[in-house]
């Protein structure tokens, strides 16, 4: 049995990923997230400030890790984001990502299919197409594949962050400490 290095991002960031920021940025921050997870929502409040602080030195990548047993709407939320991306591009994916976190706590049903379709339309996608994709679980395999890359990378809950491929065990809840961790990473 080979020695196992736990908590290493596999596969590395590639063409399939949703990426914000320059491709040649020295620091790559990957989040495995769940749109119905309250901790991910909290991270969503911290991340823009952290990314702003780092500027072009960082690129941010989001991968899906919906915890279906804990969060009944999380898988469809992730599928909706993929449907939006497929139809309307990466900018629309990020708008959808932001909308779902911004509205996560509005009500108990704020991430049900009806709401997801509404956010998708606002993000720039065709509502009927997204509704069909959700009904047919078109993007379920994509989400499952993303989830399994997380499992194989040592994701241990949501959110889990990787900085230049190594699982980040530090504090992401404060802008100061999170930005400092990213600034200190050897590149």
């Amino acid at each position: 049995m080979t020695t196992i290095q736990q908590g290493t991002l596999r596969p590395p960031v590639g063409a399939e990923d949703h990426v914000l920021g320059p491709e040649d940025a020295p620091v790559t921050l990957v989040e495995y997230g769940d749109f119905q997870c309250p901790h991910c929502r909290r991270a969503h409040g911290v991340l823009p400030k952290v990314l702003e602080r780092l500027g072009p030195r960082v690129r941010f990548v989001f991968r899906h890790f919906p915890l279906a047993e804990s969060h009944p709407n999380a898988v469809h939320a992730a599928e909706a984001a993929e449907s939006v991306a497929a139809q309307a591009g990466e900018d629309a994916f990020w708008r959808m990502h932001d909308l779902m976190y911004d509205h996560q706590r509005d009500s108990d049903d704020s991430l049900d299919d009806e709401h997801l379709v509404r956010y998708a339309e606002r993000a720039g996608a065709d509502a009927a197409t997204v509704a069909l994709d959700l009904a047919g679980d078109t993007y379920e395999p994509v989400i499952k594949a993303s989830f399994m890359t997380g499992v194989r990378s040592g994701v241990n809950g949501t959110p889990t962050f990787f900085i230049n491929g190594a699982r980040f065990e530090g504090d992401w809840t404060r802008v100061e400490s999170f930005a400092a961790a990213l600034e200190e990473v050897p590149t």
Binding site: T3, I4, S70, M148, G154, N156, G157
Partner: protein, 169 residues
Amino acid sequence: MSDASTILKAGTPAPDFSLPVTPDQRVSLSEFRGRPVILAFYPADWSPVCGDQLALYNEILSEFHKHHAELLGISVDSAWCHGAYAAQRKLHFPLLSDFEPKGEVARRYGAYREREGTAARALFVIDGEGIIRWSYLSPTGVNPGADGILEALESLDAGAHAGSPGGAA
């Protein structure tokens, strides 16, 4: 990790045990002979980090089952406590109660923390013959994820056997 040497290593026969899984039912390790067993020792029901860890394993039970592996959680909590916890978190795998004598099984696996009076966060993958094939002690407060478990199960499937170096620490 200085104390990683305390837990039982790959190649060691897994000590058998019989522990309550509900207030009136017991489970023995030897019952699972013939297929892999994942033992996940954890400090306590209800503590947030364990919750994440067990919730993650709960999500990927189907991956463990692909390897015909059985997952058993073990802590020093009572069977009543486990019952309430498993129901609330909708856990679909058994939680064993190392309650009386307290922590005895954890001690036999080198996975007991005297000062805290709880099990450590230790993982063991045991093959169908009852031999430990991989073990891992996670630093306190760090949720170990499932990547190591899956790699260990794949190595078992691939027929990696005795004498091979195991362990991640």
